[in-house]
C-alpha cells in the first residue's frame, strides 16, 4: 500500500518499523529515485525555535522532535504560541531564531521540498471565491504533482470524508465558514500527505462539525501518518491523540505519551462523577459508596451528585460501577470527571503563570 504524494513511495502504515529493519531497508535503497531520507518515518522537529514580536516572545526556544506515525496533540491555552509555532513549520512567518524541519528538511531553507509531503491547515484560509471545491483541489493536486486521475479519485474521497460531495461543483464564495473549513481540511488531505498539521481545525464549525472533524482525525490515525494537531481544548486532545505536548506562554512544559501523563500523577487515580435519581445523604455515601474497594476519597458536587476518587484501572472502575449500581440508591450516571491530564494541564498552566 503506497501512500503520500511527493514522498515515500514505498511507505506503509508500518513504515515506522519497517524502515528500521535492516532487510526492509535493503528493499528500499536500490531504487535510485528514492533518497535515503525518504525511508525515514515522518517527523517534525523544532530546534531552538523562537519568535519574538517586538519585545514580546511568542515562542521561546522550542526544541522538540516528534517522529513516527501517530497523533500528537499540541495543547496550550489561547495565546500559548501554538499558531506561531505551526506558522513557522509552514513558512508563513519566519523564526527570530532557530529552525523548523519537516521530515528532516528545513522549512526555512527549502519550503517547497519541506512542505511537499506535508498537508497543513493553519487558521482559516480562504479559497478564491469563484472556484469550486473541485477546481481548488485540482490546483492543490497539480501543484503537488498528482496526476489528473489521482486528483479525481482523491477529490471524491476527501470530499466524502468531509461530507461536502454534493457541493463539489458550487462556487466556494457562497459557502459558510464551516463549509469552507471542511474544504480546507479536504485540501489538506488531498495528496495523502504523511505529515498533517492542523491548527485548531474545528474553529468556526458548529457542534456537529466539531464532532465530525474529530472523527475525521481519528480516522486519519489508522492510516499511518504523523498528525500534529493543536488545540486549547483538553478533552479534544485526550479524545484523539496518542501523545501530548503542552506549551504555555511560548514555553514547552512537557512532551509525553497520554499514558505516561496519566501515570505522572503516580497514583493512577481518576475521578468519577456519580449521579443519582434522588438527593443522597452524606451518611449514605460514607457508609455504602465510600467503603467500596478502590474508592479512596469522595466529595460532593451537589445534592444528587458526588465525585469519587478511584484507585486502579478500568477493571476496578467497572467493579466500582457495579458496586454502586448494586446499592439500590438510584444511580443514573457514572462518568469520568477530570482525568489526570486535566489536573496536570491546570496545574502546569497555573504554576507557569505565577
Amino acid at each position: 500500500m503506497t501512500r503520500g504524494y511527493g514522498r515515500d513511495p514505498v511507505g506503509s502504515p508500518a513504515c515506522d518499523n519497517v524502515a528500521r529493519a535492516p532487510h526492509a531497508f535493503q528493499l528500499v535503497v536500490p531504487s535510485p529515485r528514492v533518497p535515503a531520507v525518504l525511508t525515514m518515518p515522518p517527523s517534525l522537529e523544532a530546534r531552538q525555535l523562537t519568535r519574538r514580536f517586538g519585545t514580546f516572545t511568542a515562542l521561546d526556544h522550542l526544541t522538540l522532535k516528534v517522529e513516527g506515525t501517530k497523533c500528537v496533540g499540541f495543547l496550550g491555552p489561547n495565546g500559548a504560541g501554538k499558531t506561531t509555532t505551526l506558522k513557522m513549520f509552514t513558512d508563513l512567518i519566519f523564526p527570530t531564531e532557530g529552525e523548523a524541519f519537516v521530515n528532516g528538511i528545513s522549512v526555512q531553507q527549502d519550503r517547497r521540498r519541506a512542505l511537499s509531503s506535508c498537508g497543513a491547515l493553519i487558521e482559516t484560509p480562504e479559497i478564491y471565491g469563484s472556484l469550486t471545491p473541485r477546481e481548488a483541489l485540482q490546483l492543490v493536486g497539480a501543484v503537488r504533482g498528482m496526476s489528473a486521475a489521482d486528483v479525481r479519485e482523491r477529490t471524491d474521497r476527501v470530499l466524502e470524508q468531509v461530507k461536502m460531495t454534493e457541493w463539489a461543483n458550487q462556487k466556494v464564495g457562497r459557502f459558510s465558514k464551516g463549509m469552507k473549513q471542511r474544504i480546507n481540511i479536504a485540501s489538506t488531505l488531498l495528496s495523502d500527505p504523511d505529515v498533517v498539521l492542523l491548527d485548531e481545525p474545528s474553529t468556526g464549525l458548529d457542534p456537529r462539525g466539531v464532532a465530525e472533524v474529530r472523527s475525521i482525525i481519528r480516522g486519519l490515525k489508522g492510516e499511518g501518518r504523523l498528525i500534529f494537531f493543536s488545540s486549547h481544548i483538553l478533552s479534544e486532545v485526550i479524545d484523539v491523540c496518542d501523545e501530548v505536548i503542552l506549551i504555555n506562554r511560548g514555553k514547552l512544559l512537557f512532551y509525553d505519551t497520554l499514558a505516561n501523563v496519566n501515570a505522572r500523577l503516580g497514583s493512577g487515580a481518576t475521578s468519577v462523577d456519580a449521579e443519582f435519581l434522588r438527593p443522597i445523604a452524606d451518611a449514605d455515601v460514607a457508609r455504602s459508596i465510600a467503603s467500596l474497594a478502590g474508592v479512596t476519597a469522595w466529595s460532593r458536587l451537589d445534592e444528587r451528585r458526588v465525585t469519587l476518587t478511584i484507585q486502579g484501572g478500568p477493571e476496578k472502575r467497572a467493579e466500582i460501577l457495579q458496586g454502586v449500581a448494586g446499592l439500590g440508591l438510584g444511580l443514573v450516571g457514572f462518568h469520568e470527571s477530570r482525568s489526570a491530564l486535566e489536573d496536570v494541564y491546570l496545574q502546569e498552566i497555573t504554576t507557569g503563570e505565577s
Partner: protein, 284 residues
C-alpha cells in the same frame, strides 16, 4: 488506506522528483488565478470600460468623420489605438494588479496558497502572469474592435506593420505598469493603499512630476515612465523631430530605444523589488 492509493502500490507513483518544478508551478498558479479573474466582477467592469471607450470614440468618428483621422491607418490608429490603449492599460493594471498581493493577505487566500509546497516567487509570478493575461484579453478586445472600425472607416490599407509595433510597445508598457502595481501591492497589506497610489501616479501624478522636473529642476525625467511611454505612438506617427535632443538640458521626448529601455527597466526593477518584498512578507 483508500482503494486509490492501494491500487497504485506496485509502481512507486509520485516521488519527490515528480513534483512540478517552480516554473511549472508558477504557470499552474496562473491558470487558476486567470480563471478566477475571468469569473470575477472586475473582468466585467474592465470590459465595460473597454465598451464605454469604444462607444464614445466610435460614435464620434462615425458622426463627424474627421478627414485627417480617417486619411490613413497610421493616423487612425495613432490617435484611437494609442490614446485608448494607454488609458486602458492603466485601468487594467489597477483592476487586475492593484490588490494582487495585498489581497492575498486581506482576503486570507494567501494562507491557502502558501501552505502548498511552492516557492514564494512561483506564487508571485503566477499571479503576475494571470493579471497580465487578463489585462491583455481585455485590451485585445479593444484592439480587435478598433481594427474592425479601421477597416470600415479607412479601408483595407489601414493595417500596417506600424500598428503591430505599437501593439508590442503597449504590451511592454502593460508589463511595466503591472510590475509597478504588484510592487505597491506588496508594500501594503491593505489592497486599497496600493490601488490609490498607482491610480494617482499613473492617471495624473507622474504627468505633474514630469512637468515639475522639466520646468523647475531642468533635467530629463527619464526615470518617470510616462515620459517614456509616448514611444508607443512612434511606430504609427513616426519618431517626432527632436526626440532625444536636449533643449536646455532637457529631452522632452525620448528616442524609441530610450523609451523601450525605461519601460523595460520599470518592469525589471519593480518585479525584482516586489519579489524581494513578497519573499519577506509574513502571514501573521
Amino acid at each position: 488506506m483508500s482503494a486509490s492509493s492501494g491500487g497504485l502500490a506496485d509502481e512507486p507513483h509520485v516521488a519527490l522528483g515528480t513534483m512540478p518544478g517552480p516554473v511549472e508551478q508558477a504557470f499552474l498558479m496562473s491558470r487558476y488565478q486567470f480563471r478566477d479573474y475571468l469569473r470575477a466582477q472586475r473582468f466585467i467592469l474592465m470590459l465595460a470600460i473597454v465598451g464605454a471607450i469604444l462607444a464614445i470614440l466610435l460614435a464620434l468618428v462615425g458622426h463627424y468623420p474627421p478627414p485627417a483621422l480617417i486619411a490613413n491607418g497610421n493616423a487612425f490608429f495613432g490617435s484611437l489605438w494609442v490614446g485608448g490603449s494607454e488609458i486602458l492599460i492603466i485601468f487594467a493594471g489597477i483592476i487586475f494588479g492593484g490588490d494582487s498581493i495585498a489581497g492575498e493577505f486581506q482576503n486570507k487566500t494567501g494562507y491557502f496558497l502558501m501552505g502548498l509546497p511552492i516557492k514564494r516567487w512561483s506564487v508571485y509570478a503566477g499571479k503576475y502572469l494571470a493579471a497580465y493575461a487578463a489585462s491583455l484579453v481585455t485590451i485585445l478586445v479593444y484592439f480587435v474592435v478598433l481594427v474592425g472600425a479601421g477597416l470600415y472607416f479607412v479601408g483595407s490599407g489601414a493595417i500596417t506593420t506600424g500598428l503591430l509595433g505599437s501593439v508590442g510597445l503597449a504590451a511592454l508598457y502593460l508589463a511595466a505598469l503591472l510590475g509597478t502595481t504588484f510592487l505597491f501591492s506588496s508594500m501594503f497589506k491593505q489592497s486599497l493603499y496600493g490601488v490609490i497610489i498607482v491610480a494617482v501616479m499613473f492617471l495624473f501624478g507622474f504627468a505633474i512630476v514630469v512637468d515639475l522636473i522639466e520646468g523647475l529642476v531642468g533635467i530629463t525625467p527619464w526615470f518617470i515612465i510616462t515620459w517614456a511611454n509616448v514611444v508607443i505612438a512612434y511606430p504609427l506617427t513616426g519618431v517626432p523631430a527632436g526626440a532625444g535632443e536636449l533643449i536646455r538640458n532637457v529631452a522632452l521626448l525620448p528616442t524609441l530605444a530610450q523609451g523601450i529601455a525605461v519601460m523595460f527597466g520599470y518592469f525589471l526593477f519593480t518585479t525584482l523589488g516586489g519579489l524581494a518584498l513578497f519573499g519577506r512578507e509574513e502571514f501573521t
